[in-house]
């Protein structure tokens, strides 16, 4: 796993990031998945920030600025408005913050199983790929040569 080599988030930053993660990907009973603020998932997010730490801090500072205070202290309506504003005005930071959260959320066993997939790395089991119908090539085989002669 990637781990951060920089000092971790402050408690206040951590609270804000967790609150934002829960807004970004909420738990769903319909799909039987936890939210990104789930304790296990969020612990993975925090320890995996790694080389994105500086940008994550900038993103959280920007969100605090847009919200007029700590994100985790805002009411739900204000949180949503702040998140919308952040996404529309700080695209690059929003992409980074999204990646930091998504890369951990979508490797959680519960989430992966909910997608109908087996929670495992590709190696060593690999996957099966159907050969397909090679007779589809017949009309292409019948074409005349396409390359240009180049004396």
């Amino acid at each position: 796993m990637q781990t951060t080599s920089e000092p971790g988030l402050s408690p206040a930053e951590s609270r804000d990031l967790r609150s934002l993660a829960g807004l970004m990907i909420p738990a769903s009973e319909e799909f039987r998945v936890p939210g990104a603020d789930d304790p296990v998932i969020f612990a993975d997010i925090e320890k995996s920030i790694g080389r994105d730490m500086e940008d994550v801090r900038k993103a959280l500072a920007k969100i605090a600025e847009l919200g007029g205070g700590p994100f985790s202290d805002l009411d739900p309506t204000r949180k949503q408005a702040t998140a919308d504003s952040f996404q529309s005005t700080a695209t690059a930071l929003a992409t980074t913050l999204g990646r930091v959260i998504l890369q951990c959320y979508y490797r959680d066993d519960r989430v992966v199983r909910s997608l109908g997939l087996e929670p495992r790395p590709p190696f060593p089991k690999g996957h099966t790929l159907e050969q397909g119908d090679w007779s589809l090539l017949d009309p292409v085989r019948a074409r005349p040569k396409m390359w240009r002669d180049a004396p």
């Binding site: 990907i25 992409t95 999204g98 790929l129 292409v140 074409r143 005349p144 240009r148």
Partner: protein, 541 residues
């Protein structure tokens, strides 16, 4: 540059010093081994282990944004060097290890076409190469044998050749593409891929790990650390990893005398050599030559033409993606499976010259689907996230437009006045823009790719005109040619200015074709090695 100082450790003389162990360095090392000369290769990176590649672990997708990112600037391993690409719409991708960029390539393995070597004669632009397809053909064949290439003979877009293994399966995704292409009446063919589909030269066959680019944990992908290098080392070539070359030195006669490098412990050493071969790619090679300036070569080594670093070509590569109504192969197979050459050759009815390959990709992984869709606004935050994500997962199909990039001198590599690597060696800076001809080509390809995706039943189309940090094809910055005033190396890779200095990597390309370059880079390296062997008695005359 001055001869080695007394404070610097000096190694024993070698006959041949190769700098860089990637696609071309490995090929030339293996080919020259039969001469029984003493051959040494210095490589700034380290050996990679299959057990360290991302697809061994649950964080396999995340590591593509970390220690296996294709950008050296983000990856920032201690074996990497930084590149200032701020003044370029395309960013640099590479990998620094034994095997070089082949460790991180996608193993799509087309050859250049015959017309690619005769651009001036056929289309009236750029320049012809001093070699042609027919000359390189036996070296393509030899390279295919050493590499192990999956594919299918009979492609009407190419002169006949016989891949060494059966093609990668079509899968659900390839079948959908094939039906769409047949409905349009357009050419398609299973790609030549440097991926083993059967056991080959000690390599295990592909088991569809699906993450070929950041290293194949199975060892089915033909990176040269597991193809050429074991053979070269068994034949007596020495490969010294974690040795970063700072400069090539010259003697009083203006011949290359060796190289100064930093070893794995950071100790500065001098390696004397009778002959030096540079294989550092289209960014690393001009960087090294420019860093080797001296009183005799004030503008950089082998640069009397002024062309070292100029004519950088990067292959603009738009990509169009869409989503179909069923789950396909996703990331459960090698990403690329088929190509189309329908629009490869020049057509006078178009508003651009030259052409492009269409590369048909399967989908992408669970994490990458979420990240890339969120980044372009297709996957929202909030309550609709889960429903929309499930409509995207494994339903993506995407086509890359591999555009030929023509040489322009203003696209160039220079030395950054400030940025340096961890050894204090000036880093490369690139300045690059996309030409008007290429822009027209890109737009043409985007429309055709969209037509194909639509014919394949895809909706929700999205176009990326330039893909960040991709494709990592670094070409043209020390071009070959017969005229010393218009080229850096001659028709067989020897520098016009320094007769015991050779260049074998993608920097010697005259034009870029519209294909992934590795197969042709290696065929050229084998051709140059053969030229050296044929001329041993008069090599430096």
């Amino acid at each position: 540059m001055a001869p080695p100082s007394t404070t610097r450790s000096t190694n024993d003389m070698v006959d041949v010093l190769i700098i860089g162990s990637g696609a071309s360095g490995a090929a030339v090392a293996w080919s020259l081994a039969e001469t029984k000369m003493r051959i040494l290769c210095l490589e700034q990176g380290d050996w990679m282990k299959q057990s360290d590649f991302p697809s061994n672990g649950r964080d396999w997708e995340a590591r593509r944004y970390g220690d296996f990112d294709i950008s050296p600037n983000r990856r920032a391993r201690d074996t990497d060097y930084p590149v200032n690409d701020d003044n370029s719409v395309m960013k640099v991708a590479n990998f620094n290890a034994v095997g070089g960029g082949t460790v991180m390539y996608t193993a799509h393995y087309p050859r250049m076409h015959p017309s690619d070597f005769r651009v001036k004669s056929l289309d009236g632009i750029a320049d012809d190469w001093p070699v042609d397809y027919a000359t390189l053909e036996p070296f393509f064949t030899e390279n295919d044998r050493m590499t192990g290439v999956a594919g299918l003979a009979g492609d009407p877009a190419y002169p006949p050749h016989q891949p060494t293994m059966p093609p990668l399966p079509l899968g659900k995704t390839g079948t959908r593409y094939a039906k769409a292409m047949n409905s349009l009446g357009w050419h398609w063919w299973p790609s030549d891929s440097a991926i083993a589909t059967t056991e080959y030269d000690g390599r295990a066959p592909c088991i569809n790990l699906g993450h070929c680019t950041p290293g194949c944990a199975q060892g089915a992908k033909a990176n040269v650390d597991i193809t050429y290098w074991p053979h070269a080392i068994r034949a007596g070539v020495e490969l010294r990893p974690r040795c970063r070359v700072r400069e090539i030195t010259t003697n009083a006669q203006g011949m290359a005398s060796g190289a100064i490098y930093y070893d794995a412990d950071g100790i500065e050493r001098f390696q004397p050599a009778e002959m030096v071969i540079v294989a550092c790619n289209g960014i690393g090679t001009p960087r090294l030559l420019l860093n080797s300036a001296s009183s005799r070569f004030p503008n950089g080594l082998a640069n009397s033409s002024g062309l070292v670093g100029k004519n950088l070509m990067l292959h603009p590569w738009p990509q169009v993606r869409g989503y179909v109504d069923e789950r396909l192969d996703g990331d459960h197979a090698p990403m690329l499976s088929i190509w189309s050459k329908e629009f490869y050759e020049t057509d006078p009815n178009r508003d651009f010259v030259r052409g492009y390959t269409l590369q048909f990709a399967r989908g992408t992984g669970v994490v990458n689907e979420a990240i890339t869709s969120a980044s372009v606004g297709h996957l929202p935050w909030g309550k609709d996230h889960h429903r929309i994500y499930r409509d995207l997962l494994y339903r993506r199909i995407q086509i890359g437009v591999a555009c030929e990039d023509l040489p322009e001198e203003h696209n160039r590599v220079t030395l950054d006045p400030v940025l340096k690597d961890s050894h204090g060696i000036p880093a490369p800076k690139i300045d690059y823009t996309i030409s008007e001809n290429t822009r027209r080509m890109m737009e043409h390809g985007i429309v055709r790719a969209s037509d194909i995706l639509t014919a394949a039943g895809a909706t929700n189309l999205y176009t990326s005109r330039t893909i960040l940090n991709s494709p990592g094809h670094l070409l043209g910055t020390a071009r070959m040619g017969n005229d010393p005033e218009r080229s850096v190396v001659n028709a067989w890779g020897r520098c016009h200015d320094v007769k015991n200095l050779f260049i074998v990597d993608g920097s010697i390309w005259v034009t870029s074709g519209g294909v992934n370059p590795t197969s042709t880079i290696q065929a050229l390296a084998l051709y140059i090695a053969d030229s050296i062997k044929q001329r041993l008695a008069t090599l430096f005359d």
